[in-house]
Amino acid sequence: MKVLVTGGTGLVGSAIKEIRPDWIYIGSTEFGSLAREEHVCQMYESVGPVDAVIHLAANVGGLFKNMNKRAEMYEDNILMNTHIVSQAAKNKVPRVLTMLSTCIFPDGLKELRPSDLHTGPPHPSNEGYAYAKRVCEVHSRIIRETTNTWTTCIIPTNIYGPNDNFSIEDGHVVPALIHKAWLAKKNNEPLKLFGTGKAKRQFIHSRDIARIIVWAVELAENPPPEIVCAHGNEVSIGEVAQLIADATGCPGLEYIGGPDGQMNKKAIPGPGDFPVPVVSLEDGIRETVEWFDRVKMA
């Protein structure tokens, strides 16, 4: 099976590469910005016919970037998604898998299911990113219904693992905390946390997401249009930070106040029978901390 993976050097792309090293992985610089149609056409032409596209590439960032670069987050993502999905359809790629995120759901929902995706506006802080991703779901579904192409959208909760963006400003919660903990250890200080640490989230290791994606693309003949992927357990930010502090060896936690964000939102996995996440948070965090330490020390 010949499969094209965009965003191939990122967090999820590199985890898929561990399982299927012979697929084609496109990094962010290979063809220039995939928000430009001519670059996307060039990519498909140069790779030749493929059995499937896994579209992971995205312009992502934490709160700060989403707030300050709203237009860029919207434009980059909506253009990239549109060109990649539409050129896949034009090139008659038989299977098209795209990635969404649970952060694009309407703000304030207690439970997240695919049917609720468009039932209210997203949180204003990541409006641009969220609408670009929501439109990708619409696009993918329309292609599925009108051309009978196999398409599906994966909706994961917080993914973490090696090869992530560990920037303290721009990274997601786990990699940013790992970086902060690493610095805290260096300075022999506690790991400082905003809020109370009581907000709960679901974390899934990149290897578990990779397994679900590989299963879907290779084996699922008629997957649902959207698949929510989540580790069943909700874990508080405080517990995650403690695991990170333990794995890093920094001296404990210190809460410095501030807002918690949404206290909890539980993603309900499914529909369909897909691989269940098996990497425990403890093992996953330990592995990720070790990876970061190796890279930092190298």
């Binding site: 399982i19 059995d51 299963w215 691989p275 269940v276």
Partner: protein, 338 residues
């Protein structure tokens, strides 16, 4: 080789999966289907990060789900461990045993039958290259059974060979015997390639502490008295789980279709003897309390495993060493079942 394992989060299944992932590169994919019942744990598979391993949660009695998973995964070997396995609870709740052990095996057989007959079925062109590694010869079933299907063996009786009459004496062993007969019937009627293993009492790490060895270790570690059924004179043959994993793999690779293989050891001890051995290793102050015996408690089982030896298998881990490994594991993993 693509191997589908049922009940792979349980005691023997998870140890088997770890053994396969560690030692058998010819196995390119392992799908573990498990309901994750009270005695199973997702992290029982220590090598769950292996890229060849996938776990899907499903009840083996759910036939539509099972058929879809078989169809999608397209295994060439199925190792069927999933079963209710605790004799004590089978007296109270035989229905659950009938459902999981008999209907569950029937479901697996229907899925194997379907994959044997639909080998030529169409595969989307997009997965054409993927079919290259898939077997064309049909799907083979390795059915895991127990020595308890023979019923009890007196001290002066000879060991059971694989052709001995089945004479189960409790609801658990009756459902396991029924499941085996279904496997044989599907083999005869539909030509399904199968092998059956009948094992002694297996012990080792990750066994739920309801069975005698981990139950005694657990009680001794907590300083509670060990509950001995009746007088504790029932005798059992004990075998270490690593030896069983290798035995199942030997049968999977070299077993002759339509054949039953006993997996036996020479470690025959009474429950009281097991208590004494464990007390020396875990807690010399450990006490025991005699509780009501089972409605019926087989005195002894004994199997002859020469057929398996002919395939090249032999027991490798001496009993004392195996017991020590098991005790060490429970001491190091006190939070495993909490």
């Amino acid at each position: 080789m693509r191997v589908l394992v049922t009940g792979g989060l349980g005691f023997i299944g998870s140890n088997f999966i770890d053994h396969v992932l560690e030692n058998h590169t010819e196995i390119t994919a392992v799908l573990n289907i498990d309901r994750c019942d009270y005695c199973a744990r997702v992290h029982n598979v220590s090598r769950c990060s292996d890229p060849r391993y996938t776990y899907v949660q499903a009840d083996i009695t759910n036939i539509s789900k099972m058929k879809r998973l078989f169809h999608e995964f397209n295994p060439d070997t199925v190792v069927h461990f999933a079963a209710q396995s605790h004799v004590d609870t089978s007296f109270e709740n035989a229905e659950q045993y009938i459902k999981d052990n008999i209907i569950g095996t029937y479901t697996v057989l229907e899925c194997v039958k379907e994959s044997c007959t639909s080998r030529e079925a169409t595969c989307l062109s997009s997965c054409a290259t993927n079919t290259a590694e898939r077997s064309e010869s049909g799907c083979r079933l390795v059915h895991i059974s127990t020595d308890e299907v023979y019923g009890e063996v007196d001290l002066d009786e000879t060991s059971n060979s694989e052709t001995s009459v089945l004479n189960p004496t409790n609801p658990y062993s009756a459902t396991k015997a029924g499941a085996e007969l279904l496997v044989k019937a599907y083999g005869h009627s539909f030509g399904i390639p199968y092998v059956i293993t009948r094992g002694n009492n297996v012990f080792g790490p990750k066994q739920y502490p309801e069975k005698v060895i981990p139950a005694f270790i657990d009680a001794m570690m907590k300083g509670e008295p060990c509950k001995v059924h009746g007088e504790g004179r029932s005798r059992r043959n004990f075998i270490y789980v690593d030896d069983v994993s290798r035995a199942v793999m030997t049968v999977l690779q070299h077993g002759k279709n339509g054949t039953v293989y006993n997996i036996g050891s020479r470690n025959e001890y009474s429950v009281l003897e097991v208590f004494d051995i464990l007390r020396q290793l875990v807690n010399s102050d450990a006490t025991k309390v005699h509780v009501d015996d089972r409605p019926h408690n087989d005195k002894r089982y004994a199997v002859d495993s020469s057929a398996l030896h002919e395939l090249g298998w032999s027991e490798q881990v001496p009993f004392r060493e195996a017991i020590r490994k098991t005790v060490d594991w429970y001491k190091a993993n006190t939070s495993w079942y909490t």
